[in-house]
Each structure stands twice: as C-alpha cells, then as structure tokens.
C-alpha cells in the first residue's frame, strides 16, 4: 500500500472543514433549517428554541451573518422589526442539509 498522500485530501478537507465550521454551532442547524423554509424574526426563533438563551441565539445569528449564510433586515417601523433570511449562498445549504439528514437517519 502506498503511503498517505497529503496534497489532495488536505485540500478537500479544508473545504469540508470550512463548511462544518460555519454550520456547527449549537443552534445553527436548527436556525438554518428554519430559515431554509422562511424568513424569521428573532422572537420566532426564540419561540422554537426555548431552551436557547437570547444571547446565544443572537451570537449564532451574528456569526452566520458574518459568514455570509444569512442576512438581517431592519424594517423602518415601530415597534422595531428585524427579520433574518437566507442569502443566495446560504440557500445552497439546502442540498447539504438534505444529505446530512439522509445520512443521519441511518445512524
């Protein structure tokens, strides 16, 4: 058997790990799954994940905005309304999540 060839695997691993990194927060899969279906407000997410603190949720949302997966829209109204939705990049997570679900169902 030939020895482990580093070049190709490490290169592809980087992309795998980059994806894992951006979707692997404690509440990220739950939030992203919901956003793949519709735009939501923070309070909707809080209602769906009552065990998560507001601080944790806003932190994870912030990270996903920074990673370009989701976007935040502030509506110019009172009371203040802020909505989160997928970016075009984030929408591509749909196929990622489908295949992760399919595999996870076998575990």
């Amino acid at each position: 058997m030939s020895s482990y060839q580093r070049k190709t695997p490490i290169k592809s691993d980087c992309s795998i790990e980059k994806t894992l990194l951006v979707i692997s927060g404690k509440w990220k899969p739950a939030i992203l799954s919901e956003l793949l279906k519709r735009s939501v407000r923070l309070k909707d997410i809080q209602e769906g994940l009552p065990e998560a603190s507001k601080r944790a949720l806003t932190q994870q949302l912030k990270e996903m905005v920074e990673d370009g997966l989701i976007q935040k829209k502030d509506f110019n109204q009172f009371p203040k309304k802020t909505e989160y939705s997928m970016t075009p990049l984030g929408s591509k997570l749909s196929s990622v999540f489908n295949i992760l679900t399919e595999f996870g169902d076998r575990l």
Copy 2:
C-alpha cells in the same frame, strides 16, 4: 408570518446533528477522506497528518469504529499489521463529503 413550528425542524435537525457529531472530530474529515479512497494503516495516517498525535488519531479512529463508520482489521502476522477501512455505512459518506466540499469551495 406564522411562528416557528418546532416539530419538523427539530426532527430533521437531529439527523443533521447526528451526522455532524460523527464526522466533526479534529482529524476525522481528513482520515475519512483518505479511507474513502483506500484502506490505510495507522502509520499511513500518521505520515499524512504529522501534526496529529498518535493518541489523538487512535482516539478518533476508535470513535469512528464505535460509530460504525470504519472497521479495524488485525492481520495475523508479525510485525503486527492493522488496517482501517470504511464500513458500508461509512462509504455512504462519499456523497456527504462531496457536497460539503462543494459548499466549502464557495466560502
């Protein structure tokens, strides 16, 4: 907008998270990517990932054996030879990794 409906997303998230859980060790994507190509011995993995300690690698291999992704075969010879390879379940990670790579390439 209707409020967050918990039932469906949490259910699918569980499968997503189960998959993330079994593939998200520090060296797991690198090891699994290699095993998707061929069976390897511990020393091959060590050569390919010199920055990983033998202890860390054997721990991650052990976890992946327990999770049913890979299998360990001991050859009855001297010097002792042990080879790791994918199980049929683990082989199905091929499509998971392809799509994680494809998405990661966009990040």
